[in-house]
Symmetry: none
């Protein structure tokens, strides 16, 4: 990788020891004195003051320095602020006082065109979407699975995710015909008439009505 130039922007313009440790050649700059320089930094680290909103600050910085990749550093990181930062097109978000090795990792990721999303935000995102996409890890509490064979349960879960018979067939490596067999069995065992009702039941919106 080419030599990266790191520039830390903050209210005071200081360069914390950890930053220096991570990037010995890093330079610091005050927000107020930020101006075009040659050669331009490859990565901007923006230490967010407590009382400032992310979007306006980044907008101002971009006006002054041009559209460079920015990583937001927060003294008190929290997920909502992280979201704000990414909304403002930041490339990363992490703790102001993160370890040097960590900072280097972030720089690496961002330098290669990626986004650095903090562990906890990542987890939240994954969990939130997991709730949406893979409905229940806890079908245990649900009675719907009780009388279904393992295969039928797989099919029922796939239906609950919105899969078509063809997709289920491919997913399970069986023919569409066989999928229909299982679907039919699930319909009868749950006492409903179509796959939509299966989806509602598996997703916990309806209760099954045993025939």
């Amino acid at each position: 990788m080419k030599q990266a130039r790191h520039c830390f922007l903050s209210e005071s313009g200081e360069v914390l020891a950890r930053w220096q440790e991570a990037f010995p050649k890093a330079v610091g700059m005050r927000f107020t004195e930020a101006a075009q320089s040659r050669p331009a930094p490859t990565l901007l680290w923006v230490r967010l003051p407590q009382d400032r909103a992310v979007a306006p600050l980044l907008a101002e910085i971009r006006r002054r320095l041009g559209n460079l990749p920015c990583v937001v550093l927060s003294d008190l990181p929290d997920d909502n602020q992280a979201l704000e930062s990414f909304s403002a097109a930041a490339k990363g978000y992490c703790n102001t006082h993160a370890a040097a090795a960590f900072l280097r990792q972030v720089a690496e990721v961002v330098g290669q065109g990626g986004l650095w999303i903090g562990e906890s935000l990542m987890t939240r995102l994954v969990e939130a979407t997991a709730r949406i996409e893979s409905p229940p890890p806890m079908e245990s509490s649900d009675s719907w699975a009780a009388h279904l064979t393992p295969r039928e349960q797989e099919v029922a879960r796939a239906i609950a995710e919105g899969a078509s018979n063809k997709e289920i067939a491919r997913g399970l490596g069986i023919t569409e015909r066989t999928v229909k067999l299982h679907v039919g069995a699930v319909l009868e065992k749950l006492g409903v008439r179509d796959r939509l009702q299966i989806a509602l039941i598996v997703n916990g919106i309806r209760q099954s009505q045993p025939a």
Copy 2:
């Protein structure tokens, strides 16, 4: 970095030349033959068949292989599909036929805990993420109705309860034909393919994918 084990999942199980070039030790696997192996791969590359939805496919793969980091490869990349992929907790999304160096870059970023996200998509992803959880719950659960006419909303709600077209027609005192008209409009406006997806969205189990 520890030796990474790359596994390419696709319909055919083949390993394209570029993939092999990027990761000489990569192995290929069919979706249908995917199964736990030791040692587990560190990164899964999932080549998405054109006619398959992302979420069910990844869900299926995770059921088979456990919750491993996945990068989605698309033969015809587009933003909506990418958004779907990240909603399904993929760690990256890129072109199936990307150059070897590019793939290694993606792997690097993902391996260090980052997400590989195309520039144009960042904004949309953040918005989608924000819609999913952070904002007041009411807003997100009602967003589906935003661009629907009153009549279309009635139909959408009826579908969400599992009603058939005929039942909806009776309930609203109109013909089945007209119900189909409204259903078609809802499908298009929510960007989904069938009524089951409508039900999932209205019930807050999935987010709409703006066309």
